[in-house]
Amino acid sequence: MSGSEAVGRKSGARLSAFKRHENLTPLSIFLGFIVVIVILQLITQGISRFPTFISPVNVLNILQQVGVPGIVAVGMTLVMLSGGIDLSVGMLASLVSIITASGLTKWHLGVPGSIAAGVVAAILLETLMGFIISRTKVEPFIITLGGMITFQGIALLVSNSREVILNGELNFLKANLIQGAKDPATGLNLVIPPYVLIFFLIVLLAGLLLKFTKYGRRIYAVGTNPLAAYLAGIDVKNMKLSVYVIIGFLVGIGSVMLLSRVNTGIITLGQNLEIDTIAMVVIGGTALRGGKGNILGTLIGVFFLGSIGNAMNMLRLPSEVQFVAKGLVVIIAVSAGDVSSKVSEFVARRREQA
């Protein structure tokens, strides 16, 4: 390694974030996130005296709420980076929860067997959709919409349109890893269940996958320009297939976690999951047209949407108002992201002309 290269890299690292326009979009999202957090903290401080928004007990609370959608959002990020979308994740999650719950209560598959049945079913169904999407020219939007409706039907058939109640077989998944820890200010119990850790583990793995592997580079290439990617020797069809296999696996384990929280396999379990996860990914700066975005952005998007939902619950806003607020957040965040990327492109062009 020559000296000039080392210097080059060092000066690259020292460039301010604003000069490197690639970083501007996630940065602006992050700044927006901080501003919202501060505002929420001030409001909650004013209204309820305990616990406030940024108290340890509430932060852990948020983590429990966003853990499962977060896991699915990671999968959705990969799908959207490759230029696809998956509308079926919500109903697939309901289906998996019903299969796993039925396995435990009706089919006597045992705990590992039931979990495996749910996860394998999710992978198989997503693989099937991925196969159709990658081998035909039909829009992924349509295929996964059809998948969503089909999975709803299968779920209702499997459960006879009833809920399947567990007897706490999956409680080990929500065991508190820091049993006995108390919030210093309020004295409330602090809780970190295993699935929060699994969420962080998956975020870390997916982040590394995208940034440090051959696979990651190929995903971005396929999402940016599938034609050029094919001519550059990338197996575009199988790349597209692979992201659906991955999201199938993530929906599978996410739904089992969700099931452990509620103890009931029911059709409404995954309701709106696709909307929440797509919103999280989009807030995080990932483009619907593919090729643009990263896991860090998605992580921020997950916390962003989760915090807002949590704060509105603390403020006891009715759910109707919450929908309006969430919707507006998505619209504002994404428009602001586009404006900021236009600004940064303008800056970049001026920099290159100079």
């Binding site: 290269e5 690259g12 290159e352």
Partner: protein, 514 residues
Amino acid sequence: MRKEALESIREKGCLAGNQRMSQILQLRNISKTFPGVKALQGISLDLNEGEVHCLCGENGAGKSTLIKVLSGAYQPDEGGEIVFDGRKVALNPHLAISLGIQTIYQEHIVFENLSIIENIFTGSEIAHGMFLDRRAMRTQTVDVLKYLKSGLDPDTRMGDLSSGEQKMVEIAKALVFKRRVIVLDEPTASFSSSEIDNLLEIIRTVKGGGIGFIYISHHLEEVFKIGDRVTVLRDGCKVSESGMEGLTKSRLIKDMVGRDPSTFYQRERVAAGEVVFEARNVGGNGVKDISFALRRGEILGVAGMAGSGRSELMNVLFGNARLERGEIRIGGRLVKHSSPKAAIKNRMCFITEDRQSTGLFLPQTIAQNVIVANLVNVRDFVLRPVDDLRTGDDYARRLNIKTTDSRTRAINLSGGNQQKVVLAKWFNTKGEIFIFDEPTHGIDVGSKQEIYQIMVDLLKQGSAIIMVSSDMPEVVSMSDRVLVMKAGGKAAELAREEITEENILGYSIGDSEI
């Protein structure tokens, strides 16, 4: 209302019979300058009623620009004027249409899912208030189709018609709306030979009604069959105008080429090595029976008119289209390219013509673009972004890409620098057999020379190059041999001393008498 269109056509027919040579359109001293390029210089041209005036010239001679001036899409530079029916006019697309100048482009711009009637009338429907007069539109369509001696059902879906029939519908549309000038740009590019004869017959019928045609074609046979006058353009200038009497094909070809070869790029020659690439009777993707051998240190130019199957052949060689017949050998070994991936593994590189849509990942950085094709050869699963940047910076420096570092996005680079990013992407695969499809298309003169030098450097390192080009000086100056294609087949293979503009053009047009 019913017979209005036809009557007007007949009326004009009489008119034309009486005063045979009345002038409709005149262009005087038309120039058009784009930043850095003089696309047209002082062109004068006129068109009479009932006349077919042919425009000939190589790719890039300025024909398309001239058409765009006629259709009002481009405004000519100061000093030129356009006279229509004796009146000076400043054309814009709307005025051109309302005066009666209909331009029919090479690519069909049609509504495939609508019927013939709907295609003709969309945008100018006959209506009473808000209700369409379907009967009037139908009868007018039927009348014009009858006039053109076509047996087509006016309700046929446009997408179900052949390209020849679609072209006929576009001419029918011009007749329905009583246009007086019809500009046809390469109308027969995708036609079978019987369709060409049909179209020429239709043109004869229509011009008999007093309508003037500007007819652009690469096919000199058609020019001689249908033309009344021929104007030849070269590099934006008018070279000659002549009637058909006494005109020969070789005369036309001489006019179309005839540049001074000493102004061409002078490249350094490299001693040719052993044969690295061989195509034997290759067919598929519209290409038939192509054979050639390529040696190290050599550029094989591939010439031919637009639509002669050059890019199609390249796609077959690179595994992007199926090889249906024949075989490909690399280094004497028989290879099967089921996909571009296989071709890259066999050390092939394909610099495509449309670099923005098939070569580059525009929103991505230079580094991301440079490393992507070589992923095929990379064994490691784990890669470090720092290494990507180093590779990117390295190529940016070696190829003199104008940028601060390789984190700049490809979209923010100029055409020449973008082309260098594409080259870097392929150099990084350590390939040896390069296909360049229009290597300097849309690139400024300075970058052109740089890219020529880069190609020569490749030859010195023992690589071999297949170069498809429509730029005649480029083919003549860069090639060691030239393969001339025509209608998907091989028309000729020219050795170094036979490479002249005249020979290439002659064989591309398929004239054996030269």
